[in-house]
């Protein structure tokens, strides 16, 4: 039996930077399946929460992140897609192959698996192009392929469609749903309410560094519990 890294238990995690509390204290459990959408106004701490879960932020003051297996091993089974995709100065193919090449896969095997992934995300024709000349939508699809190539158990996405137009967003969502159906746990932030309605199984609503709600999507959109979430869904400006 393969041990899963999930569920992840978060206890009283606080993120501080230069004496300012950006997030927390947050206590929650990330279950072993599902597609969670993190919502909240700008500066609420969506990005910080995702980075915290991914282990890219130091936990200050006593809190902890508890995976089911040791943290170093759990790192290998997670992936992150950033808001603005980071394109390495290499071909699209080598960008996708990079995570494999840094983790013991031979160049040849890494490239052939990267080619399969480019095919899947519809970028096969761009394999030999420099990644830096790709369009915004292509870049984000490339970043998704690069994140998925090591078969992560959990995938974090930080507003991946924030800079994409309608068509690119739809293509990206289709690919994401495919990964989800293939068994990847997804945690994604967005402030596009329509996108949240389309994708979410459950919604985490964040405000002022606190998780105010963590409820199934249907329930959240029908009757949000907190006044902040109600205002946010109505389209009011939440400060």
């Amino acid at each position: 039996m393969v041990t899963s890294i999930l569920p992840l238990n978060v206890t009283d995690a606080v993120v501080r930077r230069r004496g300012k509390t950006l997030l927390g204290p947050v206590s929650t459990t990330v279950s072993d399946s599902g597609l969670s959408i993190v919502m909240g106004p700008n500066g609420a701490g969506k990005t910080t929460l995702l980075r915290l879960l991914h282990g890219m932020e130091r936990v200050s003051g006593g809190g902890s992140l508890q995976w089911q297996i040791p943290e170093e091993d759990a790192r290998a089974l997670q992936a992150f897609v950033f808001q603005s995709p980071i394109m390495m100065r290499r071909t699209a193919l080598d960008n996708v192959a990079y995570p494999l090449m840094t983790h013991g896969v031979s160049k040849k095997d890494a490239r052939s698996r990267a080619a399969e992934w480019l095919e899947r995300v519809g970028l096969a024709d761009s394999a030999q192009k420099q990644a830096t000349v790709l369009s915004g939508g292509e870049r984000q699809k490339l970043a998704l392929a690069r994140a998925l190539i090591r078969k992560p158990e959990i995938l974090f996405l930080d507003e991946p469609c924030a800079n994409l137009d309608g068509r690119a967003t739809r293509e990206f969502e289709t690919l994401l749903m495919q990964a989800f159906k293939d068994g990847t746990r997804v945690v994604m932030s967005t402030h596009d309410i329509g996108q949240a309605r389309r994708l979410a199984e459950d919604v985490w609503f964040i405000h002022h560094g606190q998780i105010l709600e963590q409820t199934p999507a249907a329930e959240f959109f029908a009757s949000p519990k907190t006044s902040e979430a109600r205002a946010f869904l109505k389209g009011d400006i939440v400060e």
Partner: protein
């Protein structure tokens, strides 16, 4: 001697233009006839500076990269020192290397003074801070761009450095070329430690200096044009080989 030169210039306004023209013609003649002395000193210039650039790059490029990636206590101080050392006066470097390598100096037993090796040592000292500093600037930008991705992918420190060196190779090439530019035209240090000995340590810059001193302006100018041509050719050659200017590549 400087006063005499100035007098000549004032006396013969048109003579000046004639000298440049004569220099060009002489340069053409020297190159077309494959003048043995010219080829010898040009090759020695290249040998000394290219070796120095290779050694300095081997030290300076990883050092610059390491300084960009690694956080440690005296980092700022080291970087400031490196930047300051970019302006090292070659004559002073030459003097210090001279004293170190001279018979009575600590490395005198190796008998390196007045050899091309001594010139290479002096140039390595001059070029390394320059190459390290420029590569540090370039890699720091690339690192800012790659930081989150490489952390997220759980890469080791050496993988990060290797990735940055490889992906930043064109910027690093510029650092090495800047080093080459400074080295090939440098005269102060190699004059002192090399001694400008005919058929042993004479290079283009020291030969120009000598011929100018002798009042042999057209030959000095000819050598000058050859030197400029050499620098341009080496730069173009490296750019062509590395395809830096091919369009579509960032």
């Amino acid at each position: 001697m400087a006063a005499k030169g100035a007098g000549r210039r004032e006396g013969h306004q048109s003579g000046c233009m004639n000298e440049i023209l004569a220099g060009l013609l002489e340069a053409g003649r020297l190159i077309l006839t494959l003048d043995a002395d010219l080829i010898e000193i040009s090759l020695r210039s290249l040998q000394v500076t290219l070796t120095a650039v290779a050694v300095s790059s081997a030290i300076g490029l990883p050092l610059g990269c390491w300084l960009a990636v690694r956080r440690f206590r005296f980092r700022r101080f080291v970087i400031a020192t490196l930047n300051a050392l970019m302006g090292l006066p070659p004559v002073v470097v030459g003097l210090i290397v001279y004293l170190l390598l001279s018979r009575a100096g600590p490395f005198g037993v190796f008998g390196l003074l007045f050899t091309p090796t001594a010139m290479i040592i002096a140039q390595v000292i001059i070029l390394t801070p320059l190459i390290a500093s420029i590569s540090h600037q370039a890699i720091r930008e690339l690192w800012a761009q790659y930081h989150d991705l490489l952390i997220s992918l759980n890469t080791t420190r050496w993988q990060r450095i290797a990735t940055l060196l490889w992906d930043g190779r064109r910027a690093l090439l510029t650092a090495s070329l800047a080093g080459f530019g400074r080295g090939i035209g440098e005269v102060g240090a190699i004059m002192i430690v090399g001694g400008n000995i005919d058929h042993a340590t004479r290079v283009l810059t020291t030969a120009i200096s000598l011929e100018t001193g002798k009042g042999n302006f057209s030959l000095a100018l000819a050598l000058g044009f050859v030197l400029i041509g050499l620098a341009v050719v080496v730069n173009l050659l490296i750019h062509t080989l590395s395809r830096t200017e091919v369009s579509g590549r960032w």
